[in-house]
């Protein structure tokens, strides 16, 4: 049973647009929520992460929004660029636990 549900499965956005990927979790003990980015032929790499004590974290064009009461978090990619085309995975874990990954979202940014 997947503990982190991710949507959409795929996303096409024009250059300069905003990409939004949503994730939901059930386990209220989760307290760490990272996003990983995977390019074709490569392994996933940590992009940005958030703890539940803040509602938003921004790093450059990437922002995580976190809603603890709804048990949801999302990744926003502002001013999307063709180089952002990749598969994005949300994940969640307890501090000492293993990461539970979402199913992934393939993002394609068209020129």
């Amino acid at each position: 049973q997947q503990q982190v549900k991710q949507s959409p499965q795929s996303l096409i956005v024009q250059k300069g647009g905003i990409s939004i990927i949503n994730c939901a979790y059930e386990n209220t003990a989760f307290d760490y929520f990272p996003w990983y980015q995977q390019f074709p032929g490569k392994g996933p790499a940590l992009l940005i992460a958030i703890r539940p004590d803040v509602s938003e974290k921004k790093e450059g064009r990437f922002t995580i929004s976190f809603n603890k009461s709804a048990k949801q978090f999302s990744l926003h990619i502002m001013d999307s660029q063709p180089g952002d085309s990749a598969t994005y995975f949300c994940a969640a874990s307890k501090s000492w636990g293993k990461l539970q990954f979402g199913a992934g979202t393939q993002v394609v940014v068209t020129p």
Binding site: Y36, K42, G43, P44, K94, G97, K98, A103, G104
Partner: protein, 115 residues
């Protein structure tokens, strides 16, 4: 100076064969993992080792046997390969077992195709 390297990158073999995938990390991390990524890109943890000791063993057929000769290496041996084993296998490492303090560093994967 690749941080997490795994070999081979591609592996094509027939059903019933035995094969191994090797992984090495030069980050000085204490914890290493094997993940399986299926054709739908879903990432599933298989095993985790901390300082050569097995700490996570998910529901994986016992045809899969990890071996960690030292904390910088974690190899995966697969016996009696089946069609359903076809996937991309990723090795990863992290500083320790705490997800918060130590992000995962993945290798570039081994694409296993069983015919």
């Amino acid at each position: 100076d690749t941080a997490v390297s795994q070999t081979p990158k591609y592996l094509v073999t027939q059903m019933g064969n035995d094969k191994s995938i090797k992984c090495e990390q030069n980050l000085g991390h204490d914890t290493m993992y094997w993940y399986k990524q299926d054709s739908k890109k879903f990432l599933k943890i298989m095993f985790s080792y901390n300082n050569k000791e097995l700490i996570i063993n998910e529901t994986v057929p016992n045809r899969f046997s990890p071996k960690s000769p030292d904390k910088a290496h974690l190899n995966l041996h697969i016996n009696s390969l089946e069609l359903g084993d076809s996937a991309v296998y990723f090795c990863a490492s992290s500083q320790d077992e705490t997800a918060v303090n130590s992000p995962l560093h993945f290798g570039n994967g081994t694409r296993l195709t069983v015919t």
